[in-house]
Amino acid sequence: MNRTALSGSAGVQMHVVTTILLNNMKRRAFIEKSLLSAALLFIRPAGLVAAWNGKSFQQVSIEQAFLNVLGTKTPEKTNRITLTAPAVASDSSAVPVEINTDIKADMLYLFVEKNLTPLVFSCSLHGGSIPWFALNIKMKESSLLYGVVREGGKYYAASVHVDVLAQAC
């Protein structure tokens, strides 16, 4: 129902408030929200949070995705990032991937070279977050995975290859 384009975290916050009564999930959350409203404002301090960045999730080549997301086509290769994924994916709709590093990263990213949208996710790390993340991803075809981290404004990357036997979505 609410198809208006969102821009800026203030717009998203207002949109959240106005759509809050419109479905069951939100109605339950509304009670939590009225109690947690102070915490909610804290969760999204202005300037800290970017709205979902559509440009980062465009269907482009891996090089263009690096450029769109990181501002560089060539993050520095490093062996200080450990990217763990099966050599052969038994289910290309749910491939388990883990990214780990001893670099004191403030951002983590995962890319799949040959997915329609190469960027899988980005994560901004605050407070006592540890630069470690794991999730299940979809892969279109056999491809390199790139785990990228940012430290001091500079990007570092590691890659692993995953073979896909049958195509997923």
Binding site: R44, A50, N115, T117, V120, F121, H126, G127, W132, K138
Partner: protein
């Protein structure tokens, strides 16, 4: 959304699973029609009221997103998670670290 947050030696490991179709918009159903895109886009995690993680996610995340992360913490720490999807639905939950 199910959350499990366990502390061991000062490190809390969190597992989150969100029931969600996470459709990319590229998949066709049995009739050959494209299933519309519908996926989790953003996640915000706070720890004891302070921002911990901000996630931006796309349609390459699998159906029923299963996410794991870690942070320095202790038993009793309060986690608050909120995810939004591409149709402006919200999914929120809280959990205490055990």
């Amino acid at each position: 959304m199910r959350i499990l947050a366990k502390e061991d030696n000062g490190i809390v490991s969190v597992k989150v699973i969100i029931s969600h179709p996470n459709e990319s918009g590229s998949r066709k159903d049995e009739s050959g029609n494209l299933v519309p895109a519908h996926f989790i886009k953003e996640g915000f995690v706070s720890l004891n009221g302070q921002p911990l993680l901000e996630l931006q996610l796309g349609a390459s995340v699998s159906k029923d997103p299963f996410l794991q992360f870690k942070f320095a913490g202790k038993k009793g720490d309060r986690l608050s998670l909120r995810f939004t999807d591409s149709m402006d639905n919200e999914f929120s939950a809280e959990a205490a670290v055990i």
